[in-house]
């Protein structure tokens, strides 16, 4: 039952064709993590997932397996072991150099069908959100998006009059963040979930950890390789919401792209960062990197100014721990006022220039 294999990292490289080694579904409680990489190291989200997977595997008395796909992967499998994997499946092939849905999904789906993991976790990143549903559809299992917490627990199905032991509780905000739902997959395996970045605690690598590495034999069909990546431009984010001492955020009540300039001016004057509610991002007034809330960034600045933000729970959850909150809204009953220290009932278009003027006057 105790399936923890603790070989040294180098001595166990064997090749198994995905899908040919059938394992007994009832015994297998392995927790799998799709390991993303960036610039020769494991992506933050995957480090967080490997840490969480260790916690889940401990409760299930099983092991953590990483799935690593790419080209010339170097010591990434060893890095995954140091971050918490007991076993790493490695798919290293020139066709996998750039992430593409179909070859990655082919490898993962074949391997999942063959090994039948109990749980399979992916990051809720652009890659994870592209790949996970494709795999779940192929193996016909349940998938929960954007989880903010994962736990192991029992589930009683009243309809079936049956208790399922040790299921994965997939916990996520829903309905614009106004409810938190706990989802379970009692009948299908693996129990798949994508997990939001930044919500699971990051663990330090343990150089003493050991684990097995297994090279996956790859089979692609021609149609898997039909899509070509022509070019790619990645940039480092210039927005630093997490570290900002002051955040001035605008929402739907700002009214226009032109008025949003007032939010930016005030942020600049206070030496702070520009934040936004989802409505402002959806309206195209500001880029998504500025979004504060459950689906954006969680911030805890010294001062948070919410301009024209009604304060959906989705947004409040991402800023309510700020030391001081000033809220400006025309609706005196806007939910944002429930978390504000200073309440200004008024039009953003009039109030923001007053704040800017007051700060200029103070400087004189």
């Amino acid at each position: 039952m105790n399936d923890r294999r603790r070989q040294t990292t180098r001595d166990l490289r064997r090749s198994v064709v995905g899908g040919q080694e059938e394992s007994n579904m009832t015994d297998n409680r392995d927790v799998w993590v799709f390991v993303e990489q960036e610039d020769g190291r494991i992506a933050d989200i995957s480090v967080e997932l490997l840490g969480k997977a260790q916690e889940l595997a401990r409760q299930l008395n099983s092991r953590v397996c990483g799935l690593l796909c790419g080209y010339q992967l170097g010591d990434l499998a060893e890095q995954a072991i140091r971050q918490g994997a007991d076993w790493v499946f490695v798919a290293d092939h020139a066709e996998l150099e750039d992430y593409r849905t179909l070859p990655y999904a082919r490898i993962a789906s074949d391997l999942v069908r063959g090994r039948q993991p109990y749980i399979f976790l992916l990051g809720a990143s652009p890659i994870g959100r592209d790949l996970a549903p494709r795999i779940a559809s192929a193996v016909r299992c349940g998938l929960t998006a954007d989880c903010t917490d994962l736990q192991i627990g029992d589930y009683e199905s009243k309809k079936e009059k049956k208790v399922y032991k040790d299921l994965l509780y997939q916990i996520r905000p829903a309905f614009g963040g106004n409810i938190i739902a706990t989802i379970v997959n009692p009948h299908t395996r693996p129990q798949m979930a994508t997990v939001r970045e930044g919500v699971m605690r990051r663990q330090e690598p343990d150089p003493a950890r050991t684990g097995g590495i297994e090279n996956v034999v790859l089979h692609f069909e021609e149609r898997d390789l039909a899509l070509k990546v022509l070019s790619r431009e990645m940039r480092e984010s210039k927005v630093n919401l997490k570290g900002a001492l002051v955040v001035v955020a605008g929402g739907a009540g700002v009214g226009s792209r032109e008025n949003f300039q007032l939010v930016e001016d005030l942020a600049h004057l206070l030496g702070g960062e520009v934040g936004a509610s989802r409505a402002a991002v959806d309206a195209g007034w500001v880029s998504r990197e500025h979004q504060v809330g459950q689906t954006g960034t969680t911030v805890r600045p010294r001062l948070y100014i919410a301009a024209g933000i009604s304060g959906a729970v989705q947004h409040r959850a991402g800023m309510q721990e700020s030391s001081k909150i000033i809220a400006i809204n025309t609706d005196p009953n806007a939910p944002i006022f429930q978390v504000a220290h200073y309440k200004i009932v008024g039009d953003v278009e009039k109030v923001l220039p007053m704040l800017i003027k007051a700060l200029h006057d103070k400087a004189k």
Binding site: G176, M234, Q314, P335, M354
Partner: protein, 301 residues
């Protein structure tokens, strides 16, 4: 090599409760949201998907068919699609579809797309604002066995059977080339969806599914009976077709709640604590005093 072909396109849309602007009025006493008080809207990114398809039609010609799965009232998003230039619309509605998770939804929509047949491009919004899962598009394309291009921002080129698409992520962008047919999920920054055309609003004012005839007769008693209304609408191409599970020839086991592997175990309403707040008058004097206070508390430097 100039292309002279046209494109058959299917756009998948959803009617969703508007979770974006939760105002004081929809908050209940206990701090939770009164879901039924939220208006039903066209999922925002689905409008971007429709716009992308309409632009291809404008440039190359072809047909745009808009499909939605939902309750009878979801016909409203189909009318809004007609107002913007869709050629055909289709409502999938059946009690057996209810309670579907993304897997069961993708199966239902896949059956409809296959039954429509002869498609070159399928468009979806990146995600819907009620669930934010972004799963249904990729799940459909897997079931159709065609490539998917998620996070589609713009079409760089379309020549014959070959499409080049720009994808946009928070951290960058990417250009991919692929052969049709394929499925695109479209992001909100892709375009500015066109408003309804006044001419088409008049043209399709009466467009309705047979499920809406009774309501329509209440408003337009001159049609006298559902049969007469049906004949009138049918002749003018204003009858919105409705397909059920039987029409789709779908496997009932894979539909709705029963076909959904995920189950909701419990739901907790999020209630945030209220902070004691100080009201500041929206005047220059009031705001100057606020800034003074913040300076004194070293909140503002």
């Amino acid at each position: 090599m100039a292309s002279s072909r046209t494109y058959n396109m299917v756009v998948l849309v959803k009617q969703v409760p508007d979770t974006r602007n939760i105002t004081g009025e929809v908050m209940k006493e206990d701090g939770t949201v009164n879901r039924s008080a939220l208006p039903a809207v066209f999922n925002p990114e689905d409008l971007n998907a429709l716009e992308m398809a309409l632009q291809i039609k404008d440039q190359y010609g072809g047909t745009v068919t808009v499909v939605t799965m939902g309750p009878p009232a979801a016909a409203q998003v189909l009318r809004e699609s007609l107002y913007r230039g869709a050629d055909k619309v289709l409502l999938l509605t059946d009690r057996r579809f209810a309670g579907a998770d993304t897997l069961a939804t993708s199966y239902t929509l896949k059956c409809a797309i296959e039954k429509l047949g002869n498609y070159d491009l399928v468009f979806c919004g990146r995600q819907a604002i009620d669930g934010d899962t972004a799963q249904v598009g990729p799940q459909i394309s897997e079931k159709l066995g065609i490539p998917q291009i998620t996070y589609a921002e713009s079409i760089t080129s379309l020549e014959g059977d070959e499409i080049v698409v720009e994808r946009a992520f928070p951290m960058g962008r990417e250009w991919v080339k692929c052969t049709l047919p394929c499925l695109l999920t479209v992001v909100g920054s892709a375009n500015r969806p066109r408003p309804p055309s006044a001419r088409k609003c008049i043209e399709y004012k009466l467009a309705a599914t047979p499920l809406e005839y009774r309501t329509l007769l209440g408003k337009w008693p001159q049609f006298e009976s559902e049969e007469k209304l049906d004949a009138y609408l049918g002749k003018r191409n204003l009858k919105i077709p409705v397909w059920t599970a039987d029409d789709l020839g779908a496997d009932p086991e894979k539909l709705g709640l029963g076909g959904s592997p995920t189950q909701v175990y419990k739901v907790n309403f999020v209630v945030l604590e209220t902070t004691e707040s100080k009201e500041i008058p929206a005047s220059q004097e009031g705001i100057a005093a606020l800034i003074q206070e913040l300076v004194k508390e070293y909140i503002v430097g």
